[in-house]
């Protein structure tokens, strides 16, 4: 099963290698990793998506906790979260199909951020399902280049 871990770490050089190195040397499977500063510039947040059963995830959490720079590890898999990925996609767009592409872009509420002679760059944010759906919809037109981030996630506020 896939788990999402939110890991607060000290914002220091070397911390990412410590965390990433841990995964390779203990043989855990990392699906995606996103790191960035938090509201406190001294602290970074790493959002990890890890594949593994309960036992593996428990070990991952414990091993992460052992790292000196790790402040807190939260498994937010079961929680109600908002999660987002960012997608940039360059799609072939001859005049004949441009309109059709733009309609798809509108349906998914994403944006066109660059217009070339024969291509468009589409920017989209959303959860994994939405991002996958956009890619599926634009694939028939010819995807020239694609880049996406891993997932960032945040637990929803109490209602």
């Amino acid at each position: 099963m896939r788990h999402t871990l939110a890991v607060l770490v000290e914002n220091q050089p070397g911390v990412l290698s410590h965390v990433a190195g841990l995964f390779s040397r203990r043989g855990y499977n990392i699906e995606s990793l996103v790191v960035g500063e938090t509201e406190d510039p001294g602290i970074s947040r790493i959002t990890l998506v890890v594949e593994g059963d309960e036992k593996v995830i428990e070990q991952v959490g414990k091993q992460l906790n052992k790292q000196v720079e790790v402040i807190k590890v939260n498994d937010i898999t079961g929680e109600k979260t908002v999660d987002r990925q960012l997608l940039l996609l360059k799609v072939a767009a001859e005049a004949a199909v441009r309109q059709e592409i733009m309609q798809i872009v509108e349906i998914f509420r994403c944006r066109i951020v660059d217009i070339g002679k024969r291509s468009l760059i589409v920017e989209a944010t959303g959860d994994e399902e939405k991002i996958e759906a956009i890619i599926r919809s634009l694939r028939p037109f010819g995807i020239q280049e694609l880049v996406r981030t891993g997932k960032v996630a945040m637990v929803r506020g109490a209602k």
């Binding site: 000290e10 070990q59 414990k62 906790n65 402040i71």
Partner: protein, 567 residues
């Protein structure tokens, strides 16, 4: 004050007495300062020797070992020693010099990314890129090395941080890291353990290095005396409780004492304290006591349920756990009825004693038994790695505190001699007995110079079988006697080698010579090397073949001359 002065002062303030190290280009300035301080520097003949010596020193004293090395090759020579200390949870600080800040990342002369290299084999590794961070990093590194489960920490320091000056008292204290407190539900778990003990007719203790790290000798003694629960240990736990007692069954595992392994397999409640259930103990973890409830106590939460599933996992210091459990047993007036269990154990001991063939040839076990008989259980015993290590674990009963130094987790050949150097500095006035093999001793033989120069009372027993015995044994048992690259048809003359270093050399070739020569060696002040020419074909028994359960031991039983499997 410059960085080097601050560093040296820091160690002085921490009560460090010895630094084990080796100078080089990027630490000349540090050594210049060090030479004018109260710290005593022990110059080894190789950086690996320095780190193992610091490790041995830490093991016999319980203090933090400190070693210095220069950048590049000096630093990379520490790698094996750091990994060794990491797997055995030894508190250690390694300081390495690094090329200047402006030269980092340019493949400069003697540059190596030692912080990156040592990441997976240290508790933590630092590089200090700003001199202002030096105080905070040193303080934190010291704490990381000694708190919780101890371990080695490396601090890489570019040369300009040593030479740079700053007014340290005016530097604002920077927070390096912050951590939330770990959860602890000890009381609730103790109740579960007591309930399990009440149900149990055949409880068994399994003690590891964590009990030593926790300095819990007294708590353990009190607990064992009150509860009467029989005791087994891992290799790292050997000697944590005096082994010459009826209720102490000895080491378990691949080469464990037969009765200890059989007790492990027959117990109905296992309480593992400060152990990590390594594969040398469990064999295949899936097959390890699948139906026996297991209490697992360790200060490191990541050890619980890592290798085996524990029914009652407890995050706790070993000493604290033993104290609390004893208190709980007394309060509830729990009195365990263990007579039947002990009579079963005594059957195991009678039916499957630890024996070896005593013949006309010199057996390595005999040398160890004779030395133990003459030197007693209070000696500081150091081993290298291989057959001789297992023979010592089996045949040298130990007691006291911190009297056994061995490379448990990493199994580092070449550990013994430099570790004995550290042990001799840590325990002045005591005889240090090093058991090594003709393979292991040659892996750090240059440290004979350190032993000789410092006139250390290290008695070096080379159990010389002209081969790499442990591998040879596996080739005999599991590889159709194909002795690929394990027979040493050439060995140096170890006696003359010792004499070249100014060390007294003695030789034992026959059993009847042993006791006299051992007595002579022990009563000779300073270092002595004893070359013991032992039977090449001797194997370590019992052996649990790969994948077997603890009871499925191969060995010679009840006067049989052939090897058979129990059960």
């Amino acid at each position: 004050m410059n960085g080097a002065e601050f560093l040296v002062k820091f160690f002085e303030n921490k009560g460090v007495e010895y630094i084990f190290g080796y100078p080089g280009g990027k630490v000349i300035f540090l050594y210049d300062v060090l030479g004018k301080s109260s710290l005593k520097h022990i110059l080894t003949r190789h950086e690996q020797g320095a780190v193992h010596a610091a490790d041995g020193y830490a093991r016999v004293t319980g203090k933090t070992g400190v070693c210095f090395a220069t950048s590049g090759p000096g630093a990379t020579n520490l790698v094996t020693g750091l990994a060794n200390a990491y797997l055995d949870s030894v508190p250690l600080i390694a300081i390495t010099g690094q090329v200047g800040l402006a030269d980092i990342g340019r493949d400069s002369f003697q540059e190596a990314d030692i912080m990156g290299i040592t990441m997976p084999i240290t508790k933590h590794s630092y590089m200090v890129k700003e001199i202002e961070l030096l105080p905070a990093v040193l303080e934190e590194a010291w704490n990381v090395a000694i708190t919780g489960r101890p371990g080695p920490v490396l601090i890489d320091i570019p040369v300009d941080v040593f030479t740079g000056s700053v007014d340290f008292p005016s530097v604002p204290q920077r927070i390096i890291t912050r951590k939330g407190p770990a959860k602890n539900g000890l009381e609730e778990q103790i109740n579960k353990v007591i309930a399990a003990l009440n149900q149990s007719k055949k409880p068994l203790l399994l003690l590891g290095g964590g009990v030593v790290a926790s300095r819990a000798w007294q708590q353990l003694k009190d607990f064992v005396e009150y509860s009467g629960i029989p005791v087994t240990t891992t290799l790292m736990g050997k000697g944590v409780i005096a082994e010459n007692q009826k209720n102490v069954l000895g080491m378990v595992g691949m080469h464990g004492i037969p009765a200890a392994n059989l007790a492990l397999n027959s117990c109905d409640l296992l309480i593992g304290i400060g152990v990590r259930f390594s594969d040398r103990v469990t064999g295949k973890p899936q097959n390890f006591l699948p139906n026996t409830p297991i209490v697992h106590v360790d200060i490191d939460p990541a050890e619980l349920c890592k290798n085996i599933d524990a029914n009652i996992p407890i995050v706790c210091d070993a000493g604290k756990f033993l104290t609390e459990l004893l208190l709980g047993l007394k309060q509830r007036k729990v009195c365990l009825q263990l007579d039947e269990w002990y009579s079963q154990i005594s059957d195991f001991q009678q039916k499957y004693p630890l024996i070896y063939e005593k013949g006309t040839t010199l057996k390595p076990q005999f040398i160890i038994e004779e030395t133990a008989r003459i030197a007693g259980e209070k000696a500081v015993v150091v081993t290298d790695v291989g057959q001789h290590q297992m023979f010592v674990a089996q045949h040298y009963p130990l007691g006291g505190t911190r009297n056994f130094v061995t490379s448990g987790g990493l199994g580092t050949m070449g550990f013994g001699l430099p570790a004995a150097v550290g042990a001799a500095f840590g325990r002045p006035g005591e005889n240090v007995l090093l058991f090594s093999g003709d393979g292991s001793i040659q892996m750090n033989i240059q440290e004979l110079a350190t032993v000789a120069y410092n006139k250390l009372p290290v008695k070096i027993f080379i159990l010389n079988n002209s081969c790499l015995g442990m591998v040879r044994q596996w080739q005999e048992l599991f590889y159709n006697e194909h002795y690929s690259q394990t027979i040493f048809t050439f060995n140096p003359d170890f006696i003359r080698l010792a004499e070249a270093y100014g060390i007294k050399g003695l030789k034992i070739t026959k059993p009847e010579e042993a006791s006299g020569v051992i007595q002579q060696a022990l009563s000779t002040p300073g270092p002595v090397l004893i070359d013991c020419i032992v039977d090449q074909s001797e194997n370590v028994f019992p052996i649990v073949p790969p994948g077997g359960g603890p009871h499925e031991m191969l060995g010679r039983w009840q006067g049989e001359t052939h090897i058979s499997r129990i059960g």
